[in-house]
Amino acid sequence: MKYAYYPGCSLEATAKEYDMSVKEVFKALGVELKEIEDWNCCGASAAYSIDHLLSLSLAARNLALAEKENMDILAPCPECYLREWETSDSIKMDRELLDKMNKALEGTGLKVKGSIDVKHPLDVIVNDIGIEKLAEKVVNSLNGLKVAPYYGCVIVRPPRNKRFDSPERPTSMDRIIEAVGATVAPFQHKVKCCGGALMMANEGVQMKLSREILLDAKENADCIITACPLCHMALDARQMYIEKEYNEKIEVPVLYFTQLIGLALGITPKKLGLDKNFVPTKKIINSVKLASK
């Protein structure tokens, strides 16, 4: 199994630990990742809010680069994943749009055909590699650790045919938590929005929405796992701002789901970037026990 890796801008900077842990986990699971050469920013929700055609075209250039290698794309950031996936899916169904994309790429020497798929690591681990195979590779038990699976928005939405999980009641992260021997904590806010997209333009709204998620998790869970750099920034890095604003202690660690898997696979905390999370992850690391098998 081999994928064209599209880290996206966040994984190069603010979500460094996501990039590190994705690479480590996929290596341990025997999947090869080859970074797309000279990929560009997908434009995220900003390009999409300024010009729809621009948003599609930015994604199309990356698709064209990956098609040259004839590999499906693996995109860990849900916003990148949505933009690439949406363009890839749309040009497969709409000949006219495909022609338009190639018009947009004219003069770059690149052509897009619509011959590859775009996948999220959650989908690949649960459906392509398989949850049983993951469970087989577990060497450390996370027994007793209660984890709140936070999916956020665009990993499962908007619903269109062929999406890998339910938009209202997704289970892929739950299954991963169980596979690594931990417990899924009761958690109402699985797919509620954290307001991350408004983090800069409307801080107050982001803090209110993120706080509700954090308080729900605090009640029943030892930590939250997420699959999104923006959600992670909103819940982890900005947790101290929320605590200050509302004058309360929250202190809920927020891990990328790949960091949790990595611990179970026996990868060192350092290699998983667990020192880069804002809320200390020490308690979680200490709860890892050598499995008795």
Partner: protein, 197 residues
């Protein structure tokens, strides 16, 4: 709430303009309000998503483009997921943002357009995001004055420092080799959009 809608204030083509900009099926809305019921940011909107859908079909362009609502939408797709009529509500909000930016409408809260414009300018010139510049551009655009900009940056300085300490902020931008491609793509898109007019 009593409201008078004057025909002369309505633009019957507005709904097509919105659909053309990526927000499909607005005309199918039957005003059930499921979108507003599930919206996480509705509490801070001046018009609910349901009202916006109705105003779009009626062509009350001015009020829609000047509304706070379109900039408070967090693009979470909850409304679009639940709409029983298949209205692409989140995409409609996206389309409305793009029309407002294109037409230079001064938003009630100018931070929304300031953020999107800053983001895209950097993405198109470098081919990648560069967070320190994003912070700077956004502060300049949203605050306007030099003192406002400095105050804004100071307020976020501690997060910036922490991110730098953890090696989570690049100190220099990564510029892709295909920056010419970005220019070509923008040129081509202008041409396509001109032809489609």
């Amino acid at each position: 709430m009593e409201q008078i809608i004057r025909l002369k204030d309505c633009d019957p083509n507005f709904v097509y303009e919105v659909e053309e900009a990526g927000g499909e099926n607005v005309h199918l809305c039957f005003q059930c309000g499921t979108c507003s019921a599930g919206c996480p940011t509705v509490y801070t909107m001046d018009y609910t998503p349901r009202q916006i859908m109705r105003m779009v079909t009626l062509g009350i362009k001015d009020k829609v483009l000047n509304s706070e609502t379109i900039w408070v939408c967090a693009s979470c797709y909850t409304c679009q997921t639940r709409c029983p009529r298949g209205v692409e509500i989140t995409n409609v909000m996206g389309a409305l943002k793009s029309i407002a930016i294109r037409e230079g409408v001064r938003a009630a809260n100018e931070k929304g357009p300031a953020f999107y414009n800053s983001f895209v300018e950097i993405a198109l010139s470098y081919g990648r995001m560069f967070e320190p510049l994003l912070m700077l551009k956004f502060a300049q655009k949203s605050e306007g004055s030099l003192s406002g900009t400095l105050k804004h940056l100071l307020r976020h300085a501690s997060l910036g420092m922490e991110l730098t300490k953890k090696g989570k902020i690049a100190l220099m931008p990564h510029k892709i080799k295909g920056r010419e491609h970005m220019k070509k793509i923008i040129e081509n898109i202008r041409k396509i959009e001109e032809e489609e007019k």
